[in-house]
């Protein structure tokens, strides 16, 4: 039996590393990757709870989260590509005007 505290610690660690990436990296692609990490950290928590409670609900919730993550990645890359087409860079620092 894997201790639930260890699973929680791992999930939270991955979540916060992802949060750090979203907040402190300026590269748009890295930011999107870090967003995926946030969702994965939550998935680890759900899998741990599902394992601990011996119930399939956590897995089902996690599967919905994965579906959502795929949709988010597709739309996010659409945004990144159209941003790159205009600015010719990935850097978030250039993202400072509202005019298209």
């Amino acid at each position: 039996m894997i201790p639930i505290n260890a699973v929680f610690g791992l999930g939270l660690l991955i979540f916060f590393i992802g949060l750090f990436g979203v907040l402190f990296r300026k590269n748009l692609v890295i930011m999107l990757m870090s967003l995926e990490l946030l969702l994965n950290g939550v998935n680890v928590l759900l899998a741990g709870l599902s394992y601990h409670m011996r119930s399939p609900r956590g897995s089902i919730f996690a599967i919905f989260i994965i579906i959502m993550a795929v949709s988010e990645a597709a739309v996010g890359f659409g945004l990144v590509l159209s941003y790159f087409r205009q600015k010719k860079t990935y850097d978030m620092d250039e993202f400072n005007e509202l005019k298209g």
């Binding site: 260890a6 995926e36 899998a47 394992y51 956590g58 996690a62 795929v70 949709s71 597709a74």
Partner: protein, 165 residues
Amino acid sequence: MAILLFFLFAAFAVGSVLGMIISRNQAYSALFLVVAFASLGGLFGLLGAPFMAVVQIIIYAGAIMVLFIFVIMMIHLGEGISAEKKKWTIAAAVFMGIILLAEIVFAVKGAPAVPMAGQEMAGTSPTEIGRLLFTKYLYPFEITSILIIAALVGAVVLIKKREGE
């Protein structure tokens, strides 16, 4: 044994996630992320969720990472690697390929003999998940198809070149 494997996978996942955040090269970041997703898939298998493990490997380490690498390769216009480095890369690629082949052969040969980690827990087997998805959670499941259509159309509209550009 399970606890040992858990901490091994956890260390791999956290290490490669940190590498992904710190690395300056986007392509390396993407490869670090593949390692992280694969080890998280192993973790899900250990936690008695075999279906989630498979979905994690196929969707994350497969589909999403191909998308990431596609975007990075499409835009990242750096110079190629030098000839000296290329020799090493080919040797490493052959080495890893042989290891992967051996692993696959080993896995296929030993597959029926290895007991699944999640089998003794009837609650989270793929059968149970499939049954619940199409009975109790039918409405959310159907609504995700609308979400996917919306995301697909949105991505196509965003990427499409506008008139006169």
